[in-house]
Every structure is written in C-alpha cells, then in structure tokens.
C-alpha cells in the first residue's frame, strides 16, 4: 500500500495552486520576466548586430589592405617610387590596386574663408578606380572619370560635403581648392570602414598636377587580394613599395577596425547579461519569499493533502513544480518581450533580426532552474508541516 501521485496530477495540482491566486502569480513572475526579457533582448540585439556586421563585411570584403609608408625613425616619410602601384599590381594574388596622394591644399566654400581653415578636410588625388577598389558608392552625381581628368572637378566625401554645406551637385556648385575653383561632380556615400575618406575631397591626378602642384607618388595604396593569400601579400608589399626602408611601411586591414569595435560591444553585452542575471537572482529570492508566504496560508490544504495520503515528498514536489511554473511563465513572457524588443530594435536600425534559439532555450532553462531552486526551501518547509497541527481548529 503506497501513495502514488501521477506526474500529470502533480502538474495539475501545481497549476491549480498557481491559478488560485492569478494576480499574485503575475506580480511574482514579473521580476523573472524582466530579467529574462533583458537577457534575451541583449542576446538578440547583439546577435542582430553581429549579423549586420557580417553582412557589412561580406559587402565590403575583408581582403582589402591599406598600405601607407609610415614615418621613418627620423620622421621623414619613406620614399615611395612613382610606379609603386604598378609594382604592387604585379604581385600574383593581387586582384586590384590603386593609390591616392595627399595634396597640400585646403578646400573652401568661397574665398571669404581663410586659406588656413582646413575644416578638417583633406584634398587627395585619386584615380577613377578608387571607388571600385574600396567598394564605395556615389550618393549624388558621378565619381572621377577619365573623360574629365584634365578638367578642374572634385568629388566630395560624405562628411566633407556636409561640412562644406553641399547636399547636391544640382544646381552646379563650385568649391575653392588652393586658389582654383573646382566644379563638384559627385558626392559619395559614407564608407563604413574608411571614416578618413569621408572627410576627403577627391581630384584627379592630372588636375592636381595642373592646378594644385600635386605629386604623382602615392601616400596610400589600396590593395584587393585573393583572401586566401592575403597574409602573404601583406608580407611582400613593404619590400615592393619601399625597398630601402620596408620597416616603415604600415599595412592595415580596414575591416579589422569593425571587428575590433564589435569586440568592444561584446564586452558591454556580457556586462548587460550579467546585470540581467542579477535581476534574475533577485526575482528568484522574491519567488522564494512569496512561496513561503503562500505555504503559511495554505497549511490547511497541506494538512488535508497529508490526510488524503500525500507523502512529504508529494508535498515538496507540488510546491517545487508550482515555483518552477511561476518562474517558467515569467520566463516565457520575458522571452516574448525580449524578442519583441529585438525585433523593434532591428526594424528601427534596419538590420536583420537574429534571435539565437540556443540563447532562448538557455534563458528559459535558467528560469526553470531558478524556480526549482527558489522552491526548495519553501517546499521543504511545507513538507515538514505537522498534519495533525494543520487540520486542528
């Protein structure tokens, strides 16, 4: 003769206990809900951000190198031969290459602006290939073209256009570079991985030489290479562009900056998840508290259940399952809320929604485990209630 409680009946008992006081159940699970929502939202937003980053990297390619002859020991820039670009192009895995050269001139809206006021903008000579190599886009007008290379025209980076107060190439606008007027033929979209180029205005090598005393030697070279050989290419380049001082050549991979920024974001993400975990812990204590209170109120029920044949274990299980259900419902609500926040964020930022299922499963699992843990002490107390005492008037 043994007491037996079927699992389905155990579950039904616990649900009945929960729904007997629905308002209290809702209030109690709010804490868990908020904690889980915070964690899911942080995971979701971070994952969506990562998806957006991967899409950006995919779009821009991670196989771009930026080569700059750095400052030598005595501060002078290494001499880069005029034909460095052509020499780099001859390296096997290099797919595309182009150079830019900084021009010693300032760009101004008109001659009422002092020549010394650079506005933080740089004038650069470039080839029409540049936009293709770094995969930039034109927001308005056109980029430099071979047909216009002898004409004083300029293309503005996005920040440069903003600072010069130019929003469109129509109607025709001119800017003063050095002492020459240049017609603006294009405005570029901003570059996610070349923020320096946003603050730059581009002229052709030919017009730079004609009007601005521009030099042909490149100050920076952009190289697209086969992604599989990119490290080998990076090793060969210094000796190619500056055979006399290869150590002064600096090679960067602009996409690395994005990855690094993301890594910094991830530190913040871990911190936020940690805060969410603290919220969960507090919520767990609240559940334990409410369960203890609830058990004091339900002594009579416990006494009756014991008189009907419940063992101490049955009483314990009933309250642990009840506590788990309380936390589980809160957790589910939190997942829905957190997913909603993520979707809202993604829609707002126009990025892909990505909510990792493993993260959701883990957070609901954590809520259930927390519920079980929070229920242990109250459940043990409930099971120790003396049945004779509980049914006494």
């Amino acid at each position: 003769m043994r007491s037996r409680l079927r699992p389905i009946d155990l579950f039904a008992l616990s649900m009945r206990g929960l729904f007997a006081r629905p308002f209290r159940a809702v209030l109690t699970s709010i804490g868990i809900g908020i904690g889980i929502a915070a964690i899911v939202a942080v995971i979701g937003i971070s994952a969506s951000g990562r998806a957006a980053l991967l899409a950006t990297l995919d779009d821009l390619g991670t196989n771009l190198l930026r080569v700059t002859p750095g400052a030598g020991i005595f501060g002078q820039a290494a001499d880069v031969p005029e034909d460095a670009v052509a020499m780099v192009a001859r390296i096997g895995p290099v797919e595309d290459v182009t150079g830019i050269t900084i021009v010693d001139a300032t760009v101004r809206r008109s001659d009422f602006v002092s020549k010394l006021d650079t506005g933080g903008l740089t004038v650069v000579s470039a080839t029409p290939r540049l936009l293709e190599v770094i995969r930039g886009d034109v927001a308005d007008g056109r980029f430099l073209e071979d047909g216009l290379k002898a004409v004083p025209v300029v293309v503005l980076g996005s920040t440069a256009a903003e600072r010069l107060g130019i929003r469109s190439v129509v109607p025709a606008v001119r800017v003063l570079i050095g002492d020459e007027w240049f017609g603006v033929t294009g405005i570029l979209e901003s570059f996610p991985i070349h923020p320096d180029l946003d603050r730059t205005v581009f002229v052709s090598y030919e017009s730079a030489a004609t009007f601005l005393d521009g030099k042909p030697e490149p100050t920076a070279i952009y190289v697209r290479a086969n992604p599989l050989s990119i490290n080998d290419v990076a090793e060969v380049i210094p000796a190619t562009v500056a055979p006399e001082a290869p150590d002064t050549v600096e090679i960067t991979r602009p996409s690395d900056a994005l990855v690094a920024r993301k890594a910094a974001d991830e530190t913040l993400t871990s911190l936020l998840i940690g805060l969410g975990a603290v919220a969960l812990l507090v919520a767990g204590v609240a559940i334990a508290n409410i369960m203890v209170m609830s058990i004091l109120e339900r002594r009579m029920e416990i006494g009756v259940r014991r008189s009907l044949g419940a063992t101490r274990r049955h009483i314990r299980l009933q309250f642990i399952v009840e506590s788990m259900a309380l936390a589980g419902f809160g957790g589910l609500a939190g997942v829905v809320l957190g997913a909603g926040i993520t979707v809202g964020y993604a829609a707002n930022r126009d990025v892909m929604v990505s909510i990792p299922m493993a993260g959701i499963a883990a957070s609901v699992g954590a809520a259930l485990a927390l519920g079980a843990l929070a229920g242990v002490y109250p459940a043990v107390r409930a099971s120790r209630i003396d049945p004779a005492e509980a049914v006494r008037r």
Partner: protein, 228 residues
Amino acid sequence: MESANSNRPVVELSGVSKVYPGPPPVVALDSVDLVVSRGELVAIVGPSGSGKSTLLHVMGGLDRPTSGDVAIDGVDLGALNDKGISGLRAHSIGFVFQDFFLMEGVDAVNNVAEGLVYRGLGRRERRTRAVAALESVGLGHRLDHTPAQLSGGERQRVAIARALIGDPAIVFADEPTGNLDSATSDEIAELFTRLNAGGSTIVAITHDLEFAQRFPRMVSLRDGRTVL
C-alpha cells in the same frame, strides 16, 4: 466473507498515551485501550479538552503516540515510517473534518475525486467513482456545484463522499456536525447510519451528545481516559 470479517478489529489501541512536552507537560491521552471492529459505528464523546481530537489524530496516523501501540486494519503504525503511514492513509483511512476543508471554486465531483489522487488512479476512474460516491451521499444532483453554491450540510456530505471514495477500512470524522444546525446534524447522523449499514466502519468524535446517542456504540473520554 462478510461474516468472517465482521469481527476483525480495524482499529486497535493498547496503552496509548500522548504527552505534549511542557513545561508543564500536558497529558492529552492517558493509557487508552480501544478496539473498533469492522462494521462498527462508534461515537467518541467528551467535553472539549478531553483529548478527543488527539485521539482521532493518533488513530488516523496524523500524529504519533508518546507510548503505546496503534494498529489500523492489522498494520502496526509504530513499524511504519512517514511514507508508509501516508500510504496507509491513501488506501485504508478516510477523514471528515468539522470545517469540511473542500477546495473553493472546484466543483463537487472534482473535490470528491481528489480523495483518490494519491492512489495514482486515472482521471476518468476517479471521476466515475466520485459520481458514485456523491450519489451514495444523496448529492447526485449537485455534481457540478462548487462549495460556495452548497449548503453547510451539503458541503459536509461532499467531504464525507471524499472520505468514502477510496472504500477505506475506516472513516474518522472529527466533529462532523460542529458547524451544522441540529436538523442538518440529524441528516448527517442518518447518513452515517445508512453508510454503516452499507458496510462502512465509522468513528466520529463529537461533543454533541444528542448526535452521539444515535450511534450504536458510544465511548466517553474524559481527561485523556476512556470512561465506561
């Protein structure tokens, strides 16, 4: 089979004492000997403080005696652990309480069916037997009423049906008419008599002498001792 079982003891108490530790220690039961045989209908009477409730709890295994032996349906409770006594309560003992102790907001059938939940029976069988138990206490027409929709006497009948649903060897009733008026008490006494005629063994404790006098056997308790 009836006759073979009719004299078998269902409750055997020998030298049962219960002392609540002091200071000063309170002797609630003092060497009580009592035997209830199968098919009996027994009233235990006594003034309040005479130890009636303690006696009932000790007999039903809700409480353990300080000394002495208790056996239910031939099983010595002293040899059982808490789990074993719980099993015995699930299968062999039914309880009826003064305050009914029904689940609010739950209809009569499900309240009665709860009496079988710790036997591991399926929902459908519990329900079928609950309907039969409610019919046997004359509440076949109140199956889906919640406690709030029932009168006091009807609630106590639901509680009695819950105690009887598992067909226990013994039913203990603790002041079953304590919250009922005298007309309703008479109905409950009649119900007990009828259920007893149907084979149930029932022990009720009460301080209501009029109620107790309708029982074929009466045991008086005073200061923790049985009085003849």
